[in-house]
Symmetry: C2
Subunit: 327 residues, 2 copies
């Protein structure tokens, strides 16, 4: 099997360029020159960027290359969605050791292509470099007529979630007990002591997340953020940027039966998973209106951040969730 | 001294956000939300991205943190210049081990700020992640009315360079013999057995490169690329994209007296440094016109890629220069 050492930078660039033959009205120059060039009419352009690094965001012992790439696309699309925008173009930075084999590159590019196609995004550029550890970055550009920031929440607004949170964290814990990659993208099924349907849902949420339908209309939403690090920390960030507080209710938090089943199997507390588990890529937003199809979990207040537990106790919310550098 | 482990992701984000208070007419949302938002009128937007990884692009044993950041900015600005554009906005991805100290972060951000200010670029977003090795990416956006690709060279055009090549490679070789970082940004001078002015010029070209004045007018330029990997490989890339050949002349290659002096001191062949040394960030371009202030090193031909040596021998040019993965 060929390794990058043999394929070379020019060889890998050729594989990517031929595998992603992009064209659109706006794209004047794509992969292969010093810069990409887009011709845009009067536009609001959204730009976000997300990095996944080996040993932090993924382990080769638990992820297939397909899943690493797919998830990297999703985390970037989610950032554009969280601003109310439509993702359109992406750049990829591949920093990867020279002894990486084509058996990594090929499924990685398949996962990348599937993720980009799912969300209508074109690959228009990037950079390929040798490195000691694998670090992958996607930078995504999108367009929005109306964009939604983290800073517009008003006291009295409802606090909403587009779907259950904690499933991804539950999926990660289950995956750790399986202790090897699960090829969900190829339809792999495992024999576990719990219903496969429950296991599959939480594993998929962690490894190949599907993004929620965008809530709308945009005009009704006062602030929005995606749940990438955990409900509590992301709610804390949204409230900080909006200079408001919030009160949420444990009984209103959407808990999927799949998560309930897997958490019970693993002996984990579903509440902890729901409030501090990251990477669900659900959207957390605020609105003064009744947002059908979404879960109203509480309301925006003038100050303070608290949760009313099922037993009636009121607890202060601390920014619990994933922070890099472990502080 | 504080380490990132203590400062935390939120702490580092706060330092960056306060250190880069950007504002401009077009910037509706900057650092701190899920995406940055730019409001652009009808525009041609250039987007490029460059990564620098530890052990490949830099060694902590030879670079100051200031130089790593400054050079990363310059390599991105150079890509925008190579398309004939003006750089405007940047995103930074910092993937960095948790035990990194503030004595790295502080000068790194100073070098970043100086580089961005020098070229009129605003930092508008990014991502901070823990990682096993340091990998830094900047993605840069620029604007251009007329853009120049690698693919417009025509037989008969002159081949031009904006300045000497090989100085950066010469600087790297000198730095290896010094075997420790040289704080040029603080005016540090060393006692070496050669004139400091010669040493300083080649060290600066490698560590704190100044970009050349853009050749112009843009309408006169048929193709352009920046010399990031080496004259021969970058000329080969330009000719491949333009479906042409080129003949260049050794006697026309601009060789600085500083490089001549340092190469003699190190016992290196200046010719090899000139044709295969990377990271000079000079611009290589083609034009049917007489481009004043630039060095005409040869001409575009229908096919073939060759150099006429000083002694009259004609040698075929192979894509000699830096390629990642060492193939």
């Amino acid at each position: 099997m060929q390794r990058l050492r043999e394929i070379g930078e020019e060889g890998l660039l050729k594989i990517i360029r031929e595998g992603f033959p992009e064209s659109s009205e706006e794209l004047l120059v794509g992969i292969g020159d010093d810069s990409a060039v887009l011709e845009l009419r009067d536009s609001r352009v959204l730009i976000s960027t997300d990095t996944m690094s080996e040993g932090v965001h993924f382990l080769h012992s638990l992820f297939t290359p397909y899943q690493i790439a797919y998830k990297l696309v999703v985390s970037n699309v989610s950032d554009i969605h969280a601003m109310g925008g439509s993702p359109r173009w992406a750049l990829l930075n591949l920093s990867i050791p020279a002894d990486t084999g084509y058996d990594f590159i090929d499924p990685f590019l398949k996962g990348l292509r599937c993720g980009l196609q799912t969300y209508g995004v074109s690959l228009i550029g990037g950079d390929i470099t040798d490195s000691q550890a694998s670090v992958f970055t996607i930078t995504m550009l999108g367009l929005a007529e109306i964009f939604i920031t983290r800073s517009g929440a008003c006291p009295g607004d409802g606090v909403y979630l587009t779907g259950p949170v904690g499933e991804a964290a539950c999926g990660l814990e289950l995956l750790k007990t399986i202790a090897r990659p699960v090829r969900l993208e190829e339809g792999e099924k495992l024999e576990l002591n719990l219903p496969w349907d429950d296991a599959r849902v939480v594993l998929e949420r962690f490894l190949l997340p599907k993004l929620p339908v965008m809530p709308g209309p945009s005009e009704s939403i006062t602030s929005m953020i995606d749940i990438s690090d955990g409900l509590f920390i992301d709610l804390w960030r949204l409230c900080r940027e909006s200079h408001v507080g919030a009160r949420i209710y444990e009984e209103k938090l959407p808990l999927s039966r799949h998560q309930q089943s897997v958490a019970a199997f693993l002996g984990l507390d579903p509440y902890i998973l729901m409030v501090s588990g990251g990477e669900d890529y659900q959207l957390l937003f605020t609105s003064p209106e009744d947002m059908e199809g979404c879960h109203r979990i509480g309301e925006v207040t003038r100050e303070g951040l608290s949760i009313v537990r099922i037993d009636g106790r009121v607890e202060e919310i601390t920014p619990l969730g994933y922070q890099h550098f472990g502080s």
